[in-house]
């Protein structure tokens, strides 16, 4: 069989095509493409799609595992500066990577400003893993004109941001937006500033999906030469391309062949405007080309399904790997689900939930358990540990019945992931001491009628415990403010405030503890002696 794929172009030393003369293209690719790495941008660029849907962190974490499973090398965990929730998600994803020892490198996007870099540094600190900073900045004449920037401004911004990253010990990548339409002189200036300030990576962007393969080859060549000239051979190159012309994937492959070190893509190609390079197709093609190990198709399908769910983006019926039309013929690609019957309506199957081991301290003793990533602390306490003292009143953060104290702070366990308390000290109502040395708060509530149905009471007790621990002498208003997030439907709150006041007094030794508590002491009567039992019999 003749394979036209094998009629590869001859290339000269610098990689330029001289002629098409036949020859084993695969081996040629394998020679030309250094082991290119794949960067998954789904959780950053993918979330900027027109759908605008923001998946919850559990979905992101599921997808993260799927990325690792298809061999993604680098994962963008998001843009922390886009808001508190985003920052928290970035942190949680990084922590997941650390915990589960996932073999992916986390990166996060930032505007080229110090504050954004700082935000990433904070997340990295908390998660205990360096996060690569991908700092983007407009570099094309159009952007400069629109924003009213000049090169000096850009240089200043880049220098400051890169220094900040360096100071925080984070790798820094300069992302020049719209690189494919930028002036070489400007690029050279920016690269040099970045490298001077410590950047280890440059990302070439085809932000508008404008470039063709030969443009890529020229640009990559230019960048490599420039880096050589700047004496920065160690600096690596990334390719990030969009799909406006529908040639995102070929472009990415071409960039790989032209010698970049990392290529970006997103799940199902979802991204800004018409989208990016489809990551699963990129991985599959690089595999076919022999530039990377092949990935089992089942994993790619799984990846597509999770991406589809996280992005609320249906898998096109004709998708080459995971489309409904193509999938029918691929029964062998679904090993994950062989244990279940196929549902007739092809309901997307549940990915198997991974159990993550964790431990916490409850009432001073260590407890270890394994939970799925999405498990809330409330579920873990009630279902996994059978600590049913903590109640569920709404499961939405509205009622406060589920309050527990974690490392001294009263928190809502229905809104806290169990994994968030890994390694922490959790205090639940079960840890309060009972008779005879009854806990001051229990004592107060019991004596003054602070609980009626008792369903809000565990949450109240926990909130109050945290309050009295930090403020032993609260005023009535302090108490009211502290319990304002704990709804009680029975008492009208007055007796609860009284009870907490009394408890504070008991704790300070100003009121007697345990008044009226039924005693448990007993002096046993003497055992019957032979004499008395004889008497008994006689009597």
């Amino acid at each position: 069989m003749y394979d036209w794929n094998d009629s590869a172009p001859s290339v000269d030393g610098s990689g330029r095509v001289i002629s098409f003369s036949g020859g084993p293209v695969r081996r040629d690719f394998a020679r030309r493409v250094r082991p290119v790495k794949v960067v998954d941008e789904t959780l950053r660029d993918g979330l900027q799609s027109a759908a605008g849907y923001q998946p919850d962190v559990a979905q992101k974490i599921d997808l993260l595992y799927a990325m690792a499973a298809i061999g993604v090398d680098v994962v963008s965990v998001g843009l922390p500066a886009a808001g508190l929730a985003n920052a928290e998600d970035c942190f949680l994803l990084c922590r997941e990577i650390v915990r589960s020892k996932l073999r992916v490198v986390p990166t996060a996007a930032a505007r080229t400003v110090v504050a954004d870099v700082h935000g990433i540094a904070r997340a990295a600190d908390r998660a205990g893993i360096p996060i690569e900073v991908y700092a983007f900045i407009g570099s094309s004449p159009i952007r400069l004109a629109v924003e009213g920037w000049d090169t000096d401004f850009l240089v200043g911004a880049i220098t400051a941001a890169a220094r900040e990253a360096k100071a925080a010990g984070l790798p820094f990548c300069l992302v020049t937006e719209d690189t494919t339409r930028s002036n070489p002189d400007v690029l050279r200036t920016l690269y040099s500033a970045a490298i001077e300030a410590g950047a280890g990576r440059i990302c070439l962007c085809d932000t508008t999906g404008h470039v063709t393969p030969y443009g890529i080859e020229a640009l990559v060549g230019f960048a490599r030469r420039t880096l050589d000239e700047l004496g920065a051979r160690h600096v690596e190159l990334d390719w990030h391309g969009h799909n406006d012309r529908g040639i995102g994937l070929p472009n990415a492959l071409w960039a790989a062949a032209s010698g970049v070190d990392r290529v970006h893509g997103t799940g199902l190609g979802v991204g800004e405007r018409v989208g990016n390079t489809s990551l699963e197709l990129l991985v599959e093609n690089l595999g076919l080309l022999g530039a990377r190990p092949r990935v089992p198709e089942a994993r790619l399908v799984e990846y597509c399904e999770l991406a589809s769910r996280a992005l609320r983006y249906p898998i096109p019926a004709g998708h080459p790997i995971a489309g409904a039309e193509t999938r029918g013929a691929r029964f062998e690609v679904r090993p994950y689900r062989e244990t279940h019957e196929e549902s007739p309506a092809s309901e997307p199957a549940e990915p198997m939930e991974k159990l993550v081991p964790m431990c916490m301290k409850i009432g001073g003793s260590a407890v270890s358990l394994a939970v799925p990533a999405r498990r809330t602390l409330l579920e873990a306490l009630r279902y996994d540990l059978d600590l049913v003292g903590t109640k569920q009143g709404c499961d939405k953060g509205d009622c406060g019945a589920c309050t527990v104290v974690v490392d001294g702070v009263a928190i809502l366990s229905c809104l806290t992931l169990a994994l968030d308390t890994d390694g922490k000290e959790v205090c639940t109502v079960e840890t309060l001491e009972g008779a005879p040395h009854i806990d001051a708060l229990l004592d107060g509530f019991d004596r003054l009628g602070g609980g009626q149905c008792g369903f809000c009471t565990p949450g109240m007790l926990m909130t109050a415990t945290a309050l009295l621990d930090r403020n032993p002498r609260p005023t009535r208003d302090d108490i009211k403010c502290a319990i304002a997030g704990n709804l009680c439907r029975c008492t009208g709150y007055g007796k609860i405030v009284d009870a907490i006041e009394l408890a504070a007094k008991i704790r300070r030794g100003e009121a007697e503890a345990g008044v009226g508590l039924p005693g448990i002491e007993n002096t046993p009567p003497p055992l019957p002696s032979n004499k008395s039992s004889r008497e008994g019999r006689q009597g």
Binding site: C399, G449, G451, Q452, F455, T457, A484, R489, T491, P518
Partner: protein, 794 residues
């Protein structure tokens, strides 16, 4: 029995501020329903109608059943048996059979291996509906009988009551002042912090056990048996402690039947737990009522007549509606009332979550209209509103206009107490602008005189088991729902037998272990269960006394029970510790145990419906509320509420105060914040705790509970109810205080800032117009100001 002490002379635990013994319940040591996890337990989830009114054409569970982890799906056809808490109006199916009557109506149920799968599977049950015209508000239900929600489908009427006592028209015509008003009482929800939950398990002997967050285990037992067609001898209902109910758990719900049915089908335990959203749709909360009321009075303040026309928005099903409709009129005739009375109430079905009994069932709404009317009369006649009420009080030991027998009545002391505590005389009408005081009164039943299904058996019963170690166990059918009935029983028994509180155990709410009690509704607990318990405790006590008398060789009449010992009354140094007395009695009489029960005397008016509202005793309440009204924002703040309540005798004052404060708080919340509103599309406006605003610790007024004890002759040691009565006056007291503060009447609930602001603006505009007119020559008729003379009937 020879107890010569009068209730007021009792010393010991009764009336003392004992501990409430709640620690095990609030630290996870005692399990609430949702705290019970059984091995191999499945999770259930109800599929609910997305249409306010629709015919169910077809239900296809194929997709749901194909989902891994789904074990079973049931529909209405699996339980085609009607039920309803009132035996005359059974109109619900556990799962709708042909028609869904509100958004949220149960149409199918799924059981799966975990909660999330069950929730997801419920979405996969395909139900085909034919959407029908709906009535989602009272007016549409009145205007469009063709929606056909009533019996027979020709109108939307659920129940109609039309009663008259005396010649109302003549009395109104002779009145010096007649106040006519239109009032609208918005619906509200119970919102217990614990949502509904039920678990069912069928054991391998064929015994079906159902754990439920119910207030009425006995009725649930009966209905389960009927609907599931299982012999009651094969069913056990257990009611663990309930995390708040307020009337919202006083009838069977879909989840109990579904759990039981699915447990029977799958052979595995099944749990259903309502989400907070489902809780709002399951509802059975306060009925919205539209009340047109006329109240007439003579110049001296003597009330002549009350005439009320009320439309009640019942929601989709009957629930307790038959009783609600009577209560919307029957309970108004106490504590201060007129000589003649007529009320006509119509309860209509609407395509909304069904309404039912909420704390102060059916009587809170007319109470608002009536007490505001009284305030208007007091203004028109220039009589102090407390005085006005005093002039019209129904005295103790009489019968009301509508035939209710009244025995003890402490309303005068209640009025005195709030008048004094609030500084009424010095402050009423004299507070700075924007601040005001308002008063209102009410009365409530201590249990209904008749069981929900007619029978001659006791309403309440208790069994006592006495252990020779000195422990007494009380087995009681009452339901502990946070109202404190377990503690009440422990206090009664301990006090009667000289034990300490730690020696009495209470086992309640389990149809296998405890004798029948009808449940925790209509404020029956203390009065009925307390009496039953006293009867049993006294039987034991007489045995202890007899045994001790024999041992000490004294007359039994001279043996006195004190804390810890039975002593000789004139020589307290001679005595026997209680434990020893128990052992002596056991030796003398054999194993000790006793049963006690309570049944009501025959009571009630001699007319159709005359038994509804009849109760062996009535509690009485007076409130004074102090509010501030911010004229710029319309925000009303209730600063203080003084609530005086005649509970007969406070057996456990801490609990009584708790009930009074909790009631007053709940009433104030209905007045100011809460709205259970269903939109024209049939959807709840905000079925969650953020949008449905129950007060936080920062929203509540200072509550001052003032206990009044009138010592009822028939109550246990004189006690009556305290759980529901104290709610009633909250709303009108606040409304009247708003008028005192800002001279505007808000006759529609809740008194939200927008509504108050609109009223303030309108008043301002009216005053300006009046000023302009009078400046134009002074001939224009005055508007908006109080009439100088009492107006004639309108």
């Amino acid at each position: 029995m020879t107890d010569t002490r009068k209730p007021s002379e009792l010393r010991g635990l009764v009336g003392s501020r004992t501990r409430t013994l709640l620690a095990p319940r609030v630290t996870g040591q005692v399990r609430y329903t949702d705290d019970i996890h059984l091995p191999r337990m499945l999770w259930g989830r109800i599929v609910r109608s997305p249409h306010p009114h629709a015919r169910i054409v077809r239900i296809d569970a194929t997709r749901a059943l194909a989902k891994p982890g789904v074990i079973a799906v049931i529909t209405g056809k699996d339980m085609p048996e009607r039920f309803g808490i009132i035996p005359w109006t059974p109109d619900e199916y556990p799962l709708a059979l042909e028609r869904a009557r509100f958004i949220g109506d149960a149409v199918a149920a799924v059981a799966a291996t975990d909660e999330r799968i069950a929730h997801e599977a419920a979405e996969l049950v395909d139900v085909e509906y034919e959407v029908l015209p709906a009535a989602t508000d009272l007016q549409t239900a009145i205007d469009k009988p063709e929606v056909g929600l009533g019996k027979g489908g020709k109108d939307n009427v659920s129940k109609e009551v039309d009663l008259a006592f005396g010649d109302v028209d003549a009395a109104l015509a002779e009145s010096d002042v007649v106040i006519t008003g239109d009032y609208y009482y918005e619906g509200s929800a119970h919102v217990p912090i614990e949502t509904h939950c039920a678990i069912a398990n069928l054991d391998k002997n064929g015994l079906l056990t159902v754990w439920s967050t119910t207030q009425v285990p006995h009725y649930l037992h009966r209905e389960l048996s009927r609907v599931l067609r299982v012999s009651p001898t094969r069913i056990r209902v257990i009611q663990p402690p309930v995390g708040g109910a307020f009337g919202g758990k006083s009838e069977p719900f879909s989840l109990e039947f579904c759990a039981a049915k699915l447990a029977m089908i799958t052979g595995r335990p099944v749990k259903f737990l309502y989400t907070r959203e489902e809780e709002f749709y399951a509802h059975r909360g306060r009925h919205p009522m539209q009340i047109h009321m006329k109240v007439g009075a003579k110049r001296d303040g003597k009330l002549t007549s009350v005439d009320a026309r009320t439309f009640i928005d019942g929601g989709a099903y009957s629930s307790f509606g038959l009783v609600t409709t009577y209560y919307s009129g029957q309970l108004l005739t106490l504590p201060a009332f007129a000589d003649t009375y007529r009320f006509r109430s119509t309860r209509l079905f609407t395509n909304k979550p069904p309404c039912g009994p909420k704390r102060g069932h059916g009587s809170v709404q007319p109470r608002f209209a009536f007490e505001v009317s009284l305030d208007k009369i007091s203004r028109a006649l220039g009589i102090d509103p407390i005085e006005l009420r005093r002039k019209n009080l129904v005295p103790p030991n009489t019968t009301t206009l509508n035939g209710l027998r009244v025995t003890s009545n402490g309303i005068e002391q209640c009025l005195d107490a709030v008048e004094k505590a609030s500084g009424w005389k010095e402050r009423f009408g004299k507070l700075p602008k924007g601040r005001g005081l308002g008063v209102a009164t009410s009365a409530y039943i201590s249990g209904t005189n008749y069981a929900i299904y007619p029978n001659a058996m006791p309403q309440s019963a208790v069994q006592l088991k006495v252990d020779r170690s000195g422990v007494v166990t009380v087995f009681s059918g009452q339901s502990e729902i946070g109202q404190g009935c377990d503690l009440m029983l422990a206090v009664l028994v301990a006090d009667e037998l000289g034990l300490d509180l730690g020696s009495v155990r209470v086992v309640s709410g389990d149809t296998d272990l405890t004798p029948v009690d009808l449940g925790a509704y209509s404020s029956r607990g203390t009065f009925m269960n307390g009496n039953a318990c006293l009867m049993a405790a006294r039987e034991i006590k007489s045995k202890l006394v007899a045994a001790v008398a024999e041992k000490l060789d004294v007359d039994p009449r001279s043996v006195l029970v004190t804390r810890g010992a039975l002593v000789v009354v004139h020589d307290p140094s001679r005595g026997v510790p209680v434990t020893e007395a128990i052992q002596l009695a056991e030796a003398k009489f054999g194993t000790l145990g006793a049963v006690g029960h309570y049944n009501t005397p025959k009571l009630g008016g001699d007319y159709r419906g005359g038994t509804i509202g009849a109760s062996p005793a009535y509690s009485f309440t007076a409130h004074v509320a102090e509010v501030s009204v911010d004229a710029r924002s319309g925000i009303v703040r209730v600063e203080k509420i003084w609530v005086a309540h005649d509970c007969g005798k406070a057996l456990c004052p801490v609990i009584v105060e708790g009930q009074m404060e909790g009631s007053a708080y709940m009433g104030a919340a209905e007045a100011l914040l809460e709205e259970h509103v269903i939109g024209p599309d049939g959807l709840h406006k905000g079925p969650n705790l953020l949008d449905y605003r129950i007060p936080t610790s920062l929203d509540v007024p200072d509550l001052h509970a003032l206990i009044v004890e009138s010592e009822d002759q028939e109550g246990p040691l004189g006690a009556k109810e305290s759980g529901e009565g104290p709610l009633h006056p909250s709303i009108p007291a606040i409304a009247n205080a708003i008028f005192d503060a800002a001279s505007v009447r808000i006759d529609r609930l809740p008194f939200s800032p927008a509504r108050v602001l609109a009223a303030l603006r309108k008043k301002q505009a009216d005053e300006q117009a009046a000023a302009v007119e009078s400046s134009l020559g002074g001939f224009a008729p005055r508007r908006g100001a109080a009439p100088p003379n009492p107006p004639a009937a309108e």
